[in-house]
Subunit: 184 residues, 2 copies
């Protein structure tokens, strides 16, 4: 039943199209779903990395990098700067694109930048329980929120002292499924 | 008037949200619009670049790089390979991410790869009038479809013989508006 609160969609091939799309049973609106863009950063100060403990689901209480959905009419690097501000009140300087990951399960394209903190002061925004700068050996590896955070930290570390790297992609065979072992 | 052919949307702030979204007047469906991801390539064979003349609007008859929207559940490099096949029956090998452009007007994020043709045989797909391999001086500069095609060709050329480059972004001040002069 379609109501104002819960539109009901049926998957079918619209005229002139070549694949199934969700079409609204009530009004015929075609929901052309598209991959979503996530922008974020591995931001460091004196070798220590900015991490945020999530105040929201999914994975509340686990640690992540400052990252989130790119907004309409926003350049990707600007989005990464905005997310670092929103989640950790951190001011960054973008260095270089670190990685482009595809999370197939979520149809997410993640653009992760390598960045430098302009100053080491950070404090949690509304979606963050706490945040801080962590040396490699202090990173809470057992409480990382998502596989791609592991990937980005590992890739970040492999680029230290290297300014000629190409952006990394998913590690071989990794699709971002949460069920996989998350070892580096 | 909302009909099955033409749903009508009004921009308003949904409950619990913090910005205006298009909401269907008929059924209440909220259209969370997001930036779209375009994947493509500058693919070359022996110094010549693959270009396609568009069989579809916008910019029918003008020349472009093989590129298009990333599909759901598709890795970005795979999408670039698919588009080259669909538009020019070209088989590519991805070399490296050449550029990440943001087309603000369209809220597009374009990921353009530098690629090599596996063999020089190409032929137009259904969205292409003709395609071919062009030396730098043979490129139909006056008939290029979009500003970002200019940017990508220029950036591609600047990387020849350089394997340490970072992906390029929009040229300073350029947002992809069609009204701007398109000179390199
Ligand atoms: Zn509807
Ligand atoms: Zn509707």
């Amino acid at each position: 039943m379609a109501s104002a609160d819960q539109p009901s969609f049926t998957s079918r091939v619209p005229e002139g199209d070549d694949r199934e799309r969700p079409v609204c049973d009530t009004c015929g609106f075609i929901d052309y779903q598209n991959p979503k863009v996530v922008v974020g950063s591995v931001a460091s100060w004196d070798g220590r990395v900015l991490l945020c403990r999530r105040a929201i689901e999914p994975r509340r209480g686990f640690w992540t990098l400052p990252a989130g959905y790119l907004e309409l009419n926003e350049a990707t690097a600007d989005g990464a700067l905005r997310e670092a501000w929103e989640e950790a009140r951190a001011e960054l300087e973008i260095e270089r694109l670190l990685a482009v990951y595809t999370i197939l399960r979520l149809s997410q394209v993640q653009l992760i930048y390598r960045a430098r903190l302009v100053r080491p002061e950070v404090s949690p925004g509304p979606e963050t329980l706490e945040c801080g700068l962590y040396a490699w050996d202090e990173i809470p590896w057992q409480e990382i929120a998502f596989p791609s955070v592991h990937w980005a930290l590992g890739h970040w570390r492999s680029t230290l002292g290297d300014d000629g790297f190409a952006p990394f992609a998913n590690p071989p065979g990794e699709t971002g499924r949460m069920e996989r072992p998350q070892g580096l």
